[in-house]
């Protein structure tokens, strides 16, 4: 019996005591390998990004269920549809910019229209590959994916939440887009001892009713830090982790709007059509005229730079969020 078979026979569980030392993609690669031990339908597809998408672990243990499609993303997406319709549970990964833009029509026609159970792990999203330039920025993907009927769109706050989303994805019906970053990013959670459900918001801070910040992805941690800073200045805000952009937890948004009268959305995405757009639609549909601001990438192509320099530039870091809260409140 090979070493691999030994491992499989014994079963292996990845203990995540190193959440702050690995990237979200690495968490995905490890969790999917763990899940595949019990679920023989799981197959993993990549497009010459095994090293970036961190699916090498899966390939090592399940080589017969791992498929590298080369630099041909659309073919990978449609082949995943063919596998899903044949009873497999495909997890496919590429960079967010290529999945959401290059493959938009294939995703919409072969995965969303058909309502097939395919999981997309979109890595290097937002400005996480900021120094890659516009060809590698993905700041339109939430807007595109959430306009597709049947699609679920999730933006985990950190590596801990990424693990929870990947685990939860096994039982979710229909297509799912999971948007993660590139590198090791600060944790929004101290540990993984919290309940997670796709589609249900999570209150990260609830210091008062001056305002509420609704955030997703890396911006959740930034919003938490802003809330902690504002608290010291006597301003109490609520921070909502809106990890699921679709289906949107509209009740949480309307409740926050009613109780605070001032909402700020923050995301590593264009201010058009993403989380901010979705929240604005919700408020307008409910006829709620409140103080409101969308933080994100303005309607431009972002400049080149490292994420830690770009987030402050576009005001989606903790300092930028703090300033926007103060401005919105007229302070």
């Amino acid at each position: 019996m090979s070493d691999t078979q030994d491992l499989l026979t014994e079963g292996f569980v990845f203990t995540m005591d190193t959440y702050d030392m690995i990237s979200a993609a690495e968490v995905y690669g490890q969790v999917i390998s763990e899940m595949a031990q019990k679920n023989e339908d799981i197959v993993v597809l990549t497009s010459d990004l095994m090293r970036s998408n961190k699916t090498g672990t899966f390939k090592k243990y399940f080589p017969e269920r791992f498929f590298n499609f080369g630099i041909a993303e659309t073919n990978m997406v449609a082949a995943a549809a063919g596998m899903a319709v044949s009873g497999k549970l495909p997890y496919i990964s590429s960079m967010a910019v290529f999945l959401s833009l290059r493959c938009a029509e294939t995703i919409r026609t072969d995965l969303a229209y058909t309502n097939l159970k395919v999981r997309m792990i979109a890595t290097h999203s937002g400005l996480s590959m900021g120094n890659g330039g516009t060809t590698h920025h993905a700041t339109e993907d939430i807007a595109i994916l959430r306009s597709m009927a049947n699609m679920t769109v999730v933006v985990p706050a950190d590596t801990i939440e990424t693990g929870k989303v990947v685990r939860a994805s096994e039982d979710l019906e229909g297509p799912l887009y999971i948007r993660i970053g590139r590198s090791i990013e600060p944790l929004a959670y101290e540990n993984d001892a919290y309940d997670y459900t796709i589609g249900k918001h999570i209150i990260m801070r609830d210091y008062g009713k001056d305002a509420a910040v609704i955030a997703c992805g890396v911006c959740v941690k930034a919003a938490v830090d802003a809330a902690d800073a504002l608290k010291k200045e006597g301003i109490g805000i609520r921070v909502i982790n809106m990890h699921t952009i679709k289906p949107l937890d509209t009740e949480a948004i309307l409740e926050a709007a009613q109780s605070t009268g001032a909402l700020i959305t923050v995301e590593e995405h264009s201010i058009i059509g993403g989380l901010g757009g979705a929240v604005a639609e919700t408020l307008c549909d409910a006829g709620m005229g409140i103080k409101f601001r969308r933080l994100g990438i303005p309607d431009i192509y972002a400049v080149i730079g490292y994420p830690e320099d770009l987030y402050p530039l576009y005001g989606i870091d903790s300092a930028g969020i703090r300033t926007s809260v103060l401005n919105l409140l007229g302070k």
Binding site: G70, A78, A79, A80, A81, M83, A84, V85, T109
Partner: protein
Amino acid sequence: MRVKDFRNKAELLDYLDDKAMELRKQVIDLSMVSTGGHLGGAFSMMDIVVALYYHTLKVDPHNPTWAGRDRFVLSKGHGAIAYVPILADLGFFPKEWLSTFNKLDSPFGMHPDMHKIPGVEMSTGSLGHGLSIAVGMALSARLDKQDSRIFVLMGDGELNEGMVWEAAQAGSHFKLGNIVAIVDRNRFSLDGPTEEIMSIEPIRDRWEAFGWKVYDIDGHDMEALVDTFNGLPPASGNTPILVIARTTKGKGVDFMENNPIYHYTLLDKKSALDAFASIERSRPARRVTI
């Protein structure tokens, strides 16, 4: 699928030619109900799909999701008007359903929907997707140790799509001998002759260069179709198959043949009657005297 027992091959081929004739007439009927249809491409592909469904494919209308079945993907989804009457005739759903074609909330429109039409394996209509989908189906069949085949019917103009060639390289890379791709080589796309719009020749050389085994046959010769499908190497082989089926756009209706204006058309009553007569006249000579 085995629809009935035949005493010999001639009887089988006569049966298939009769079916193709009958179904071409049904397509004319359907196009009147649906106020138009992709008639040119429907008639060029008809003999191919008849040979597949009434002879070659392992499918069961009474158990359409049977795991060991062969798959058929109509990558040229605009051929639905030729495809769905076959599924009805085989009993996948009641023929009466077809009277709703193109009407509000009908299961049937120009392109087939897998969730609305029993027997349709994949929703299609956007050209260039079918072969990639077949790659996924073929990989799954191999994982499941099924000896089924994945048949895909593409239009010839469809070969312009880049995604077809992504799938072509994957088909040989993954050694998918269980894929049989068929090109309905009717020589026309919507705007005119393929070699004027965007040439696809030399088709054979291109596919062979991509590592596919190529058959080149007359797509209206029922015997050639049946012999080719009967003589395929085992599905467990390492080389994907490409069948160039040389066809005539509008085949069977003399005034439509090779005339791109009939790519999508609505006939008036007189033209429909002329079409019926032409379809009957153009049926190949019988092999067995009745």
